[in-house]
């Protein structure tokens, strides 16, 4: 148990997982809320993470929440198989979906963006946290939808496994550690590791992928 700023006893353990490598990840395409399937490596990453989680959880009860996008469903199916848990017991939560780039979901890549939309690129570099692509979300907007997700985990005695995305997981970690926006933005997005949030700190657990 640890005490948060209000002196409340908070017991929340969260295992935060990013989906495995997808076809578009490998191509450098920007997915946002569009989707592509896991590569063979992505499948192996999901398997390795599932195995590591199994040994960590060691038979304890746990909740499992996931983003409803295809790549996280696919990762969740493999992880629940490794954990001996029914896929149907997963709680899918729209608030866990990746940041959307709006009209530019699925765009060819950051280089192409910078080349094709130089004005937008300048604005984004100037204030990345508040920048949103046309009809897309800013990091601040994603933080706003994730804040209640984290708050809801308080007072849960059993651990929660959350299967989500690169940017979403960075923002959840930033919220958990009460980091500045700049520090949150700079966090990494591994797919061969996952994060254990507990007692106010975060442990990175790397996995060996065959």
């Amino acid at each position: 148990m640890y005490q948060d700023k209000l002196g409340t006893q908070v017991s929340q353990t969260i295992y935060l997982v990013r989906h495995g490598e997808t076809v578009w990840n490998r191509q450098g395409r920007l997915q946002g809320q569009s989707d592509s399937p896991l590569t063979l490596l992505g499948i192996c990453q999901a398997e390795a993470i599932g195995e590591a989680l199994r040994s960590r959880l060691d038979g304890q009860p746990f909740e499992i929440h996931a983003s409803p996008l295809g790549r996280t469903r696919q990762t969740a199916a493999i992880i629940t198989d490794m954990l001996g848990r029914d896929y149907m017991s997963i709680e899918f939560d729209d608030r866990l979906m990746e940041i959307t780039l709006g009209d530019r979901d699925g765009y060819a890549g950051w280089k192409a963006m910078a080349r094709d939309f130089p004005e937008d690129w300048k604005r984004q570099q100037a204030d990345p946290w508040h920048y949103a692509h046309p009809n897309g979300e800013s990091s601040q907007m994603v933080k706003d939808r994730l804040t209640p997700v984290l708050a809801e985990r308080r007072g849960h005695d059993i651990p929660t496994v959350i299967i989500a995305h690169g940017v979403v997981n960075k923002i959840l970690r930033g919220l958990y550690l009460e980091l500045s926006n700049e520090a949150t933005y700079a966090l990494d997005r591994p797919q061969d590791a996952f994060h254990h949030l507990s007692a106010g700190s975060i442990e990175t657990i790397e996995v060996e992928v065959e």
Partner: protein, 197 residues
């Protein structure tokens, strides 16, 4: 050289395992299903060795996109060159989708038995009959080049309708054909060969 078509079914999905009718709806591959897709890829790579160029087509549903990505990783085919074609989608089961087989047989027993007696002509409510599926399969095949090697990643239901038509199987017997996920089929002129993974 004549034309050969390698016809694959997606690997096991969560709903396959739970006995829930998918049709046009979708669920992800299980761990076993991902491994089945990988095994099919390994066997297919052996078959394709020395073949030269080939083209990969797939149904655009999630489970076939997932399976095709895995197969193409194994055989070394660029995933941005997979052609997705709606005519390769699974048979639509309309309002029966997302229900278990036993639920449909028990609670829709009249329509279910009518359909079982004549799958070629009778549709699931809001769904397709075998004839509908046959038409779109023939349309897809009709657009293929007449020579060369083609790989298709698709489904069990439409796959056996395709093979049934290819082999001249009686319309009332098509539903007895197997829908393996541990192997695939090679269709050439008048022949349908099963290749185990």
């Amino acid at each position: 050289m004549t034309r050969e078509i390698f016809l694959l079914r997606h690997g096991q999905t969560v709903w396959n395992r739970a006995g829930i009718i998918q049709g046009r709806k979708d669920s992800p591959l299980t761990l076993k299903g991902a491994r089945q897709a990988e095994a099919m890829g390994v066997r297919l790579a052996e078959q394709l060795a020395g073949r030269g160029e080939y083209t990969v087509f797939a149904s655009p549903l999630g489970r076939t996109r997932q399976s095709a990505a895995i197969v193409c990783d194994v055989i070394g085919y660029p995933d941005d060159q997979i052609t997705f074609d709606d005519r390769l989608m699974e048979t639509s089961f309309g309002r029966w989708e997302n229900r278990s087989h036993s639920d449909v047989e028990t609670n829709d027993s009249e329509t279910s038995s009518q359909r079982n007696a004549d799958r070629w002509n009778i549709r699931a409510p809001g769904g397709e009959n075998y004839s509908d599926v046959g038409d779109r399969v023939l349309s897809f095949v009709g657009d293929l080049p007449t020579e060369g090697t083609i790989v298709v990643v698709a489904h069990g239901g439409m796959g056996r309708i395709w093979r049934g038509m290819h082999m001249g199987v009686a319309k009332t017997e098509i539903h007895t054909l197997p829908e393996p996920q541990d192997g695939f089929f090679r269709l050439t002129e008048g022949v349908c060969e099963y290749i185990e993974s």
